[in-house]
Structure formats: C-alpha cells, structure tokens
C-alpha cells in the first residue's frame, strides 16, 4: 500500500446499539490518523427545556431522555432535587427505589445481552437468527427481560417511562400481595441468570488490556445503585457533590453528544458494569459473588469485551437483591414524603446514581417558586465515548490488513461491548471551560 494513501473506513449506521451513530476511521499507511464515533442523533435540548418547568415534573421529563434506562434518570433527578429541598426519605422508600433500579438493571442488561450483544459471539446479525440455533437460550433471555419489565410495571406502573416515581417517594406504594406475587418469577430468574453467566463466560473473548481508569460509586455496605462516593481504580475518592470539580465535558465537532474527561490532565475514564464490579465486587450478593469467583475471569478486569460477564453477574445480583426486598417487604407508609417549597432563596442539589450503563450525574438549581432554573445532566455514554475511540485506535493497527467491511465489523463489536446509549448522550450539556 502506498504510504501516502489515505484510507477512510466508515460504518454509516452502527447497529444493535441504542440510538444513532456512525464510525469514521482515517488511516494513512500504517498510521491511524483519526477515529471518530460520530453521533448524529438529533439533539433534543433537555437541559434547556427543563428551565421554568415545575420541579415535580423533572422525573417525568428526564425519563424521556432514554426509553431503555428511564429509571436511572428518574432516580438521579429525585435524589438531586430532594437534596436541594432538604427532603429525607424513609428506609422503606429507599428500599423500594432499590427494587425499582433492580428491575431496570434486569431489563436493560437483558435487552443488551440477549438481543443486542450475544449474536456477535456466534456471527449472527440479530437474536432472531440466533434463536434458530439457540432457541432455549434466546427464550430464556426474553423471559428474564420480561420479569424485569414485570417488576417495573408493578412498582412503576409501566416499564418504559414509569409513572409512579415522585420527588419524595412514590405516588402509591405497592400492595404486599402484589410484590409477593413476584417472588416465584424472581426465584426462577435468579437461577436462570446464573446459567446465563456460565454460558456467557464460556464464550471466546479477544485479548485486550485497556490501560485506563474506571470510575463508579461505592457505598459502605451495599452494591452501588442509588448512592455512594465516587471512587476510581486509580484511587479517586470524592463525594458526589465534588463531581464537577473533577470531571468536565466538552463539545467535539463530529458529535451531537459531549465528551467527558477527568481533570486536571483531561484524562479519559470509563464507567459501567465492569467499573462497578472492579470497585465493588465485595458488596455483591452471595450468589453473584460466588459466581464472580468461579467464572474464568481475573479481577480487576480491564478488558471491555468481557463487560458482558460483569453485566450478567449484575443481573444475578439484581435478582437476588430484588427477591430479598420482596420477601421482607411489609408495606411502605407514607409512600411519599410531603414537602413545601419555601419562598425565599433558590436552592441547588446534585446527585449521582448507577445507571445500567454506568455513573450518571444530575445537578439542578430551583427557583423560590418551585421551578427548575438550571439543569445539568451527564449520562454514562458521554463519559465513555472518548475511551471507546481510544480503544478503537488501539485495536485498529492489528486489523489493517483486512478489508474495510471486516474492520468495520470488528470495530462495531468493540463498541457494542460498551453498550453505548446514544440517545442518552445526545441531550447536550452545557460547555464550560475551566482553567486550573
């Protein structure tokens, strides 16, 4: 090949990811000139349109950022606003929120693993083709996902954009009989999810050692969902309200999603199931921990291809924890803490939770008459996007002898292992230049 020849490899439409994006790689000879994960998903301006809205609408509106992980937006929004307003919820409400998050992890991980990702390991284009050869495994995956949806429906009213989440708690607490009726399915799900992990762990994974920092929440006693300190594999340990002193976002020309990086060196980092598990494996439920020990996997793991195993173990955790919560549930009264917006000063609150795809951060300023004055939302994918590009740049040199189509396919597989959520990333964040 002519050394000066510029070769451009394009994947015009990434498939089996949530939202719309493309990939563009520019190569000169053996040199990778540029890798762009181009996001062309149209912007929807959530932070702009929230301004002036009654603050109690925030969980309903931010849910609409993403149809796959609406609970992550609802949970982060209600916690941030409760911090702003000085609302403290009861342990019962806190536990139901964890249960709701378990439902979303089961559902979202279920969609990604069984419908989007697993076909890659067998060379199929989709799960319908996969089902011709592995009907039991695909049907098992669909049933697992369905149980997650059922949990979301009982507790949230519906699986996509639940209607039962309020600032202060829930509009209505589930009846004892409703939650208890889920126990048999959850027990089946726990056992099936363990089988899924054993199956997935038997797949062949490319060797890949990412040399990067992983960031997740860490809680003193539990696997992180709704709260914790922000920690990293490089030793970072900060409170969530310090997030913006350590991380920032910037606009890049090829994307309608902003990229996040860590200060002061503008270094990349990743969030997600692998980060969570590397930093919190000791807090996994009993079955999930035992599984993490028995599968062929070295911890901490920095191979993004193996994220699916972490995702699977988290599904086991979510089923086991959901089952425990359902069994000890004795009702929740009050379902919602009452609050009054006191006239006078404006308030501010910020919070981070663990979305299925990783750490998500919200900050809100409210007005004295109970409206949103300012909103900032940082989803997981905008934090992972730059690292995905760097991983691709590291992968590409070994692939250059192959035809463009094969290179594109290999790149797509790496991208999919991150489970990017492009709709989430494309709601745009305010760009601020910080000089340190």
């Amino acid at each position: 090949m002519n050394k000066k020849q510029i070769r451009t490899i394009e994947v015009a439409a990434l498939t089996r990811v949530e939202g719309e994006g493309a990939l563009r790689v520019v190569v000169e000879g053996e040199r990778i000139l540029d890798v762009q994960l181009a996001i062309y998903e149209p912007p929807r301006f959530f932070e702009a349109l929230l301004r002036g809205r009654p603050l109690d609408e925030t969980p309903d509106i931010t849910a609409r950022i993403c149809g796959i992980c609406p609970v992550a937006y609802q949970m982060t929004a209600v916690h941030a606003l409760e911090q702003a307003l000085g609302i403290v919820v009861t342990p019962e409400i806190r536990e139901l929120r964890r249960l709701l998050y378990c439902g979303e992890w089961i559902e979202s991980h279920g969609v990604h693993m069984h419908l989007l990702h697993i076909p890659d390991f067998f060379g199929y284009s989709n799960s319908i083709e996969l089902a011709q050869v592995y009907p039991h495994q695909v049907n098992r995956g669909l049933r697992l996902k369905k149980i997650g949806n059922r949990l979301l429906e009982v507790l949230g009213g519906r699986a996509v954009h639940p209607i039962n989440v309020a600032v202060g708690g829930f509009f209505k607490a589930p009846r004892l009989s409703e939650l208890r009726s889920l126990a048999d399915d959850l027990q089946w799900g726990l056992e099936a999810a363990i089988d899924v992990v054993r199956w997935v762990a038997s797949f062949e994974y490319p060797e890949f050692k990412g040399d990067y920092e992983m960031v997740a929440l860490r809680h003193a006693e539990e696997y992180p969902m709704n709260e914790g300190r922000i920690v990293s594999t490089a030793g970072l340990d900060i409170a969530t309200d310090e997030f913006e002193q350590h991380f920032e976002e910037r606009q890049v020309p090829h994307s309608t999603a902003l990229h996040a990086w860590q200060l002061p060196h503008r270094s990349t980092y990743t969030v997600g199931p692998l980060a969570r598990m590397n930093l919190n494996r000791d807090h996994l439920s009993a079955c999930a921990y035992e599984l993490s020990e028995s599968v062929e996997m070295q911890w901490p793991c920095f191979n993004p291809y193996r994220s699916i195993i972490a995702r699977g173990i988290e599904v086991v955790h979510a089923f086991e924890e959901a089952l425990a919560i359902v069994r000890r549930y004795q009702g929740c009264s009050p379902a919602r803490m009452s609050y009054a917006v006191s006239p006078g000063q404006a308030r501010e609150g910020m919070w981070a939770t663990e979305a299925p795809r990783g750490l998500i951060y919200h900050r809100y300023q409210t007005t004295s008459d109970g409206k949103i004055a300012h909103a900032k939302i940082i989803p997981p994918t905008s934090q992972n996007q730059r690292q995905i590009e760097l991983d691709l740049a590291a992968l590409l040199p070994q692939l250059l002898a192959q035809p463009d189509s094969a290179i594109g396919l290999a790149c797509e597989k790496l991208i999919r292992s991150y489970d990017p959520c492009i709709s989430c990333a494309t709601h745009f964040l305010k760009f601020e230049i910080k000089r340190l």
């Binding site: 439409a13 990434l14 498939t15 089996r16 990811v17 949530e18 719309e20 062309y40 998903e41 149209p42 912007p43 301006f45 959530f46 932070e47 702009a48 349109l49 809205r53 009654p54 609408e57 309903d60 509106i61 609409r64 993403c66 149809g67 796959i68 969609v111 419908l115 989007l116 076909p119 284009s125 989709n126 799960s127 319908i128 083709e129 089902a131 009907p135 049907n139 669909l142 049933r143 996902k145 369905k146 009213g157 519906r158 699986a159 996509v160 954009h161 209607i163 039962n164 309020a166 509009f171 209505k172 910037r250 606009q251 020309p253 309608t256 797509e412 709709s423 745009f428 305010k430 760009f431």
Partner: protein
C-alpha cells in the same frame, strides 16, 4: 388497501411482508416496545421479515418496505429529506409514539428562542444541524396509522401489525382515559382527591395508569378524539387553578398536538401562539 398477501405457513417461496423501523428525534422507548413483546417476538418474526431495524439487527436491507414503523419527530434539515425517502419506500407508514404523532417533549422548543436554546447547550452551535421546530411526521408526509402514547402500548402495536398482515382495520380505541378508569373501577382522582387530571380529554391506550396510582393523568397519549379541552381548562380556571399550573400540563409530551397546543396558548398569558410554527 391490500398490501401483501399473507404467506402460507411452510411455503418458503412466498416472501414475507418486509418490516422496517426508522428512528428520528426520540428516546428509543417506542421501538423498544417491539422488543418488549417477549412472548410474541419470535412468532412475529415468522410472519414478517424484519429487514431494517438498526437497534435490533445488523442486517440492513434497502427498500421498498411493506410496513414502516416510524419513531421520533422531525427536528433537523437532514431528517426533512429522510422522512420523504422513508415514505417513498414504504407501502404502509405507521407512526409510533408521541414524538412521531405530536412532536414529543422536544416540541417545547417551538415556543422557545432557537439560538438561545442552542447556546444553552453548545459552545459552538454552528456545527449543530437543528430546526427551530419539532414537528410530527404527518406534518411532512402522509401517514397510514398513528399509534399514540409516550410510550406506545405494545398490544396496540401488535394489533396494528397483525391487522396489516391480515388486511383488516386495526382495533384502536378513540375514547378518553376517563372511560378506562370507570372500566377498571378506579376511584376518580379528580373527584375524590382533588387532583388535576387530564383523563377526560386524553386518548385511551395506557390503561388509565396514573389515576390507578393516585395521580392525575398528564396526557401522555395526547388528545382524545372530540376532546373538549377548553371546557376542562375553563372549569379549572373557574376553581382558581391558575395558568402556570395548567399550561405546563397541556404543554408536555404532546405539546404540539393541535388541541393541546391551541388550548394551552389560549390560557397562557405569555404565549405568542407557537411563534416558530
């Protein structure tokens, strides 16, 4: 209105109807409802061929398509052209969800200053392709069926698909949420709890969820047919509920639906009647 003869089981020579799913500005939640048909997904795949569904399959085929499901609203110049192409390639076009049928929550920008919205979010707004409006698919091309809701009801989606496969009319309700509350024996939250509820003017399809969870309907399925929005709003105004409470309720996930839009503009003292439209 026949589209494609239904393939006979076991006859592989008869090609199955070709289904495509397209996304415009949206959250993916409505196309996810297709994947949430867990019990029906694999049997549905035997009745029709999913030939273009980026979220679920790497197999991408070109048109023409027998059925196109369209999610999302039109917010960019590029999408203005793309929806025309989707229409040209599709025998039947079904819009799925509030974004596609009424512009979605992002239609709030129809009432805002576009450049200010851009500056609020982007440092270099000139690289961003965005129109000043978010509009429904039917504002641009002919639509054969509309599925309401934020998100859509997956059983309604299945019914439309089965109807198209068997050449019958879909059984889509046209009544209001209010009637569904009576059917499921939910105590009226407007009467018993004094909640502001859009149930009387909102299209059925959710199963009257919100009142069953002790909250008023917030209209995510958009206006019901022949809804009398003005009457409901005037009644609330008469009870001293003010415009700042009523307007955001009418102007959310179906803000650009004509009935909700006009009623909200009438009540909103600051409205300049959808300046960007």
């Amino acid at each position: 209105m026949s589209i494609v003869p239904r393939p006979r089981l076991g006859d592989i020579r008869v090609s199955k109807p070709r289904l495509a799913v397209f996304k415009f500005a949206s959250c993916d939640g409505c196309q996810l409802q297709l994947l949430s048909c867990e019990d029906e997904l694999l049997s549905l795949a035997e009745e029709l061929e999913i030939v273009h569904f980026l979220e679920a399959s790497s197999r991408i085929e070109m048109g023409p398509f027998d059925i196109a499901l369209v999610e999302g609203s039109i917010t960019t110049a590029a999408d203005l052209g793309r929806i025309q192409e989707v229409r040209r390639q599709s025998k039947k076009l079904v819009t799925i969800g509030a974004c596609a049928t009424a512009g979605g929550i992002q239609a709030l920008k129809n009432w805002a200053d576009r450049s200010e919205f851009l500056r609020c979010v982007y440092a270099t707004p000139e690289t961003i392709d965005t129109l000043s409006t978010s509009t429904a698919i039917a504002d641009h091309v002919q639509v054969d069926y509309e599925l309401r809701g934020c998100p859509i009801n997956r059983f309604q989606l299945l019914d439309v698909l089965r109807a198209l496969l068997t050449d019958r009319r879909p059984k889509l309700p046209s009544h209001s949420v209010c009637l569904d509350c009576k059917r499921r024996d939910t105590v009226c939250v407007a009467v018993a709890r004094d909640e502001i509820c859009l149930g009387p003017i909102t299209h059925a399809g959710c199963g009257a969820l919100c009142p069953a969870f002790n909250r008023g309907c917030y209209g995510c399925f958009g206006p019901a047919q022949q809804s009398n929005c003005d009457s409901l709003v005037d009644w609330h105004l008469h009870r001293q509920v003010t415009a700042p409470t009523l307007v955001p309720l009418l102007r959310n996930f179906n803000a650009a639906a004509i009935e909700f839009r006009d009623c909200g503009d009438r009540v909103d003292p600051q409205s300049d009647l959808g300046q960007n439209l």
